[in-house]
């Protein structure tokens, strides 16, 4: 219990760094960056200690801060330490820490260096808050904080209008999902009378028949944060931020928050709600994978691959939360690696992001080349890289769930292998496509070391035993214990899933190899025609949304305008003033100014009163 308070240290260190940077050291970029990096590294060390102590114990709560006590509603700010939050803590501080260090090199010389690190620390703090939250209200507060800090970071280069727009888009789209999330929290409070996770878990039956609705509303929050269809549109645009920020958003924080939240409260979802979640996840995975096939911007391809993998995770939440978290962890490693590798290439080519203007990087940037290859192999699910094991667990769980979902996941796996190797062959392999690509040189050590450090878990995370902790936490069957056993486990417990995923990789790879190994330009647009254009334009989702919003907005505006003009201005405002005016004009006729008129009226009045009194 006493050690659980170490979680407060983990949580507050980044906030402390952010506050100190903003208040005192804004003028000193180097000191600011050192502060921020130190804070996150210390957080990582503290998380490691916590992990060592509590990884197998029952969930513990840290010292609580009473915050809100209204009627039956008790909300304490307390930190929950259990296997799930500990693994996530390690990911956020570990991967996040490497991204902090990498940023030192990537952002060098930027005029907003100190501001960048302040926002980064704030972002880390918010994400740690979500991870350690012990109740829905606390989670929602940090959830919104993540939204705010992502706004700050995506719009970091706010002088570019596209970046400012992307930041707004991300924030507003997220708010849309958060609205549902908030409704869900209120509903759960109304039904169960508590927002504490542990109390909810003990009394899931109190939700009764409304469990499906409440669950889907909660899911809305994850749809926004984890960029699921139909709120997926913000994620690709979030590429406008600096590349390390993209890595942070896509790997360790933000989008992971949605999946983490779903896993955290997986017990509240009813069977029907889980079905909806599974299919939305599966559809997002397929949609994003198809779009990724025809993108040419290196960061956008990675963005759509993130979307696709997030779809996988959301699907997995419905079939087996342990496998969702497992994939979240491995994905955090290899996606951070891929993004940082892409950032390294982008910096070497002076902010060139088009993959058709790269190529031949093997000799020029060997570390980036090899680490990126490792990331690619991991995301495609080539054994024995980490992605294979986590993806296989999802496939195996999907087999038991429904055949349709299984086919969907395998299809996505084929597409993943195809577009990732397309990216790899075009951008890295072969010879330089343009002259500038020939002058590329390897990035500084502060950037390559994080790549190497991320490459190691990208290879090994599948056999480290993370899945054992998760399986124990979620009470799911665990398949293997020893290292050798773990390596072969996928083929042991579900041969169908393992061989399907392997075949998918081989198929996707050979397709990409035949099409792109020697291609000078993309041959697909000619062969696919309209389909390719639609894929390149992201199936026109942005345009459709713009049209829908404009149409509804316009109608609403017209109705509001009518109400304002006719009812409020016409009847209420003009009506009252008009009536007063008319009466005034009528009464004015009586005021002749002639004293005899007044006398006559006065006498007449007296006469009438007299008549009334006398002849009553």
């Amino acid at each position: 219990m006493a050690f659980a308070n170490l979680a407060w240290v983990v949580l507050l260190l980044p906030l402390f760094a952010a506050a100190v940077i903003t208040l005192f050291t804004m003028r000193n970029p180097r000191l600011s960056a050192q502060l921020s990096i130190t804070a996150v590294v210390l957080s990582f060390v503290a998380s490691l200690i916590l992990f060592g102590i509590y990884r197998t114990s029952t969930p513990v709560l840290s010292a609580a801060l009473p915050w809100l006590h209204v009627g039956d509603l008790n909300v304490d700010i307390a930190l929950r330490v259990d296997a799930l939050s500990l693994i996530m803590l390690l990911i956020v501080t570990g991967v996040g820490g490497l991204i902090h260090i990498y940023s030192w090199g990537y952002m060098a010389g930027d005029p907003g260096f100190a501001r960048y690190f302040a926002s980064l620390s704030l972002f880390t703090f918010s994400m740690l808050g979500i991870v350690l939250a012990s109740n829905f209200v606390m989670m929602f507060i940090f959830w919104e904080l993540v939204g705010v800090s992502s706004y700050l970071l995506i719009g970091f280069w706010y002088e570019r209008s596209s970046a400012a727009d992307a930041a707004k888009k991300a924030f507003i789209t997220n708010r849309l999902g958060d609205f549902g999330f908030l409704l869900g929290i209120i509903m759960i409070w109304a039904l169960a009378g508590t927002v504490q996770f542990d109390q909810l878990q003990a009394n899931t039956q109190t939700l009764g028949a409304w469990a499906t609705v409440a669950g889907l509303l909660i899911f809305c929050g994850a749809v926004g944060k984890s960029a699921q269809f139909p709120l997926h549109v913000w994620l690709p645009d979030a590429m406008e931020g600096p590349t390390p920020v993209s890595a942070l958003i896509h790997a360790a924080t933000m989008v992971a928050a949605g999946v983490y939240m779903l896993c955290r409260v997986a017990f509240i979802f009813s069977v029907q709600a889980l079905d909806v979640i599974a299919w939305i996840g599966g559809f997002t995975a397929l949609l994003a994978a198809v779009i990724a096939v025809q993108q040419n911007d290196i960061k956008r391809i990675l963005a759509y691959s993130t979307l696709s993998q997030l779809g996988y995770m959301v699907l997995a939440v419905a079939v087996s939360p342990a496998s969702a978290m497992f994939h979240l962890v491995t994905h955090a490693f290899f996606k951070a690696l891929l993004f940082l590798g892409a950032g390294s290439v982008i910096l070497a080519l002076h902010h060139e992001q088009n993959i058709w203007r790269m190529g031949g990087l093997k000799r020029k940037m060997p570390i980036t080349y090899w680490t990126f290859l490792i990331g690619t192999l991991a995301i495609c699910g080539v054994p024995p890289f980490s992605g294979f094991f986590s993806k296989d667990e999802i496939l195996a769980a999907a087999v038991h769930h429904s055949v349709g979902l299984f086919i969907l996941t395998v299809l996505v796996a084929v597409l993943t292998a195809f577009y990732m190797f397309r990216l790899f062959f075009v951008a890295f392999a072969g010879s330089p496509r343009v002259e500038e690509a020939g002058h590329a040189h390897e990035s500084p050590k502060v950037m390559t070391w994080p790549l190497i450090l991320l490459a190691i878990p990208s290879v090994l995370a599948g056999v480290w035993g993370i899945n054992h902790h998760l399986a124990a936490f979620f009470n799911e069957p665990d398949h293997a214990t020893g290292l050798a056993e773990t390596l072969l486990a996928p083929f042991g417990h579900s041969p169908l899933a393992a061989s399907a995923s392997l075949l998918a990789v081989v198929f996707g790879f050979s397709l990409a190899y035949t099409v792109y190994r020697r291609a000078a330009a993309d041959p697909l647009p000619e062969r696919l025609g309209f389909l390719s254009r639609a894929m390149r334009s992201k199936f026109y989702f942005d345009e459709i949304y713009a049209f829908l919003i404009r149409a509804t907005h316009e109608t609403l505006a017209r109705i509001a305008d009518f109400l304002d003009r006719v009812l409020i201005e016409g009847f209420v405002v003009r009506g009252i003033s008009g009536m007063t005016d008319v009466f005034g004009r009528a009464l004015r006729l009586l005021q002749t100014g002639n004293i005899q008129t007044y006398t006559f009226l006065f006498a007449a009045g007296v006469a009438i009163v007299l008549l009334m009194v006398l002849y009553r």
Partner: protein, 100 residues
Amino acid sequence: MIRLEHYLIVSAVLFSLGLLGVIVRRNLLIIYMCLELMLNAANLALVAFSRFTNHIDGQVMVFFIITVAAAEVSVGLALIVALYRKRQSAHVEDLTLMKL
């Protein structure tokens, strides 16, 4: 035999004539005289009641009223003279400034 009713009828006739004069006449002086007529119609009624009910109070009161009326008339006439000097007219249709 003259009874109370006869006095009261004369008083009412005088009062009505005075009121009619106030309403229809144009000259301020005449209106003012008509006002006095109305006042004295009331005095007449008061004196008549006093006489027929054997209460001397009414007659005492009338003396007071006449005294106060004399003072009031002097003020009123002075105002009318001042007004005439200012406007060169004592007709009410020329004095309609109290309207919008």
